[in-house]
Symmetry: C2
Subunit: 355 residues, 2 copies
């Protein structure tokens, strides 16, 4: 019998360090597919196995739901009435959904004009109180940290340790599906909570089950690459809005994860990110731009001959669905032709290959 | 160990009537969560169990992927090089993704100006050749049927019987999760392939396993309700674009499913659909408007006293994710305020509850 998704708390709760008083708040997140993409592996040179962990199939369309079920469950357990977060969009939608589920108020602070339409719509739909600020994500994060320390509002950004407890379960799932850790894990790096959580998860599972450890390739966008540059970026810019972050909250831990895993953190250009977004969609998996960064980094390293994956298994984390940011596709695309509702006209367009 | 999603062909293939020659083309669709929504049940009067089968968590964001893995697998097995469909959007994205996966050409014909932005972007992203026509979905469907009969291009609308073979697996999953069929199944009805497929699925599982049969409540939008009116609708209009269909291809079978199940097909207004979309999002599940129709119909019947679900289990099918149609939220919403990046200003807005 197919085990329909029970949510990560029901499945992995025993391995998550949450307080006893937590009250489960779930939307049956997790258990996302690990999609084999053999043709993409060939396109990248071949000779290795490649899988996409498609986190865009979580309830609100991104990996954030794993952390949010944990953070909101803890908050609900101690009677919290309101939560707050800064967001580039995915955290906002996730916090809004889980807070709604728990009957809490959600306040989300976003950088004005810097959040993809599909994400903002989500936060609004789930009933969050959305405030745009004249500033960056990093400004927003600083402000919500301060406010959460002064007011009875719980912080649910990934500085909240329970967020990582939830997010690490994606590493467990990858090991369970493959029967062990992959040789390499590629993923985008923005605020650096996710790379930190994956490394926690792989280490914990390895200690428990001897599942092995991957080398980690963390990938930033070139215009927003503080961990590659070695200093904060005051005005981060990239088409990959989900990782447009200049001062990662978990930067030190990300660098440590890369080093301990014998991996590294690199940067790729927006062109490389968008090219990979298209290449991945042409393989049937449409992700938001940031989500293509991990694979763009893999392609970059393979092209430069700086990584050898022959005979290896590589997993790439795609953090959010393409539907989060339809505009990026629509901007880059010529408007489809409009034809009369006429068979001959259509056949001509189709057979001429000019559709 | 959590069984990561293996796709419906691997899991239910033995129960699907597909030709031997089929070649599996999968994106690991299916195994979507059946989310309990007890608070929504209370809001609707209480005294019954309510579940949402959230089909928006399939790879391209809608239930269409179940049918498409089957239809494209069959087509791939007989060497088809190109597929065609008419679409209000969800079929387009799904056909595009699975055709891309199979290395086939996909041609999708959509009614100009009548497809939600997130859906069109998907079809384009996955590499379909998109043609808009000056006409309705029904016009488009007529044309693609004709073209597929004249040209070497396979039809993948739900007239294709393999589509139903795939879509019926959602009924299997609901039975497996609940340990039997629910007492009522509520779902939106547009082209009527899905209601037909669910009824096929429930009957087949019941014959095999004695899992029981639900009563089926099929719900159309009032401006696009040919099965309620008893005649085709020349110019269907509704905010629920996914079910804006005036001449359902499987209308007869839908009426039969409703009758055989001792259920019915009703219509609800766009206001009822949008109100339920918001109510469901306030419970943590954001769906596209059409997907709220099934629950809007349930609410309508409960309100009118025409259905008694006390002590019963009710499942509602939500066919597509809210991200498919962000515009409908953005249109209905006041723009979030823009404030300076200043703690005092934010605290005032938050504590005043004016965010």
């Amino acid at each position: 019998m197919m085990a329909s998704n029970s949510g990560i708390l029901a499945h992995y709760g025993a391995l998550m360090d949450l307080p006893e008083y937590s009250r489960p708040v779930t939307l049956l997140e997790g258990d996302t597919p690990l999609i084999p993409v053999p043709r993409l592996a060939e396109e990248l040179g071949g000779g290795f196995e490649l899988f996409v962990k498609f986190e865009g199939l979580n309830p609100t369309g991104s990996f954030k739901d794993r952390g949010m079920t944990a953070a909101i469950s803890e908050a609900a357990g101690r009677g919290v009435k309101a939560v707050i977060c800064a967001s580039t969009g995915n955290t906002a939608a996730s916090a809004a959904a889980y807070a709604a589920r728990a009957g809490m108020r959600a306040v989300v602070i976003i950088p004005a004009g810097k959040v993809a339409a599909g994400k903002l719509a989500g936060a609004v739909a789930y009933g969050a109180e959305v405030i745009q600020i004249e500033g960056s994500f990093d400004d927003a994060l600083g402000l919500v940290v301060e406010i959460s320390q002064r007011q009875p509002i719980a912080l649910v950004n990934s500085l909240n340790p329970y967020r990582l407890e939830g997010q690490k379960t994606a590493a467990f799932e990858i090991c369970d599906t493959l029967g062990g850790a992959p040789d390499w894990l590629c993923l985008p790096v923005g605020n650096a909570g996710n790379i930190t959580a994956y490394w926690m998860g792989f280490r914990q599972y390895h200690a428990l089950k001897g599942s092995g450890l991957p080398q980690i390739l963390g990938v930033q966008a070139a215009g927003s690459a503080p961990l590659v540059l070695g200093h904060p970026v005051e005005h981060p810019e990239t088409v990959a809005t989900a990782i447009r972050i200049g001062k990662p909250a978990r930067g030190e831990q990300a660098l440590q994860a890369a080093e301990e895993s014998n991996g590294r953190i690199i940067a790729v250009t927006d062109d490389e990110i968008l090219a990979m977004q298209h290449q991945l969609a042409a393989n049937g998996v449409w992700v938001e731009p940031a989500s293509a960064a991990g694979l763009a980094g893999l392609a970059h390293e393979l092209c430069e001959g700086r990584i050898d994956v022959r005979g290896r298994r590589v997993a790439a984390v795609c953090t959010g669905h393409g539907m989060k940011d339809p505009d990026v596709v629509i901007r880059g695309w010529g408007k489809p032709p409009v034809l009369p509702a006429d068979r001959d006209a259509l056949e001509e367009a189709i057979l001429g290959g000019r559709a």
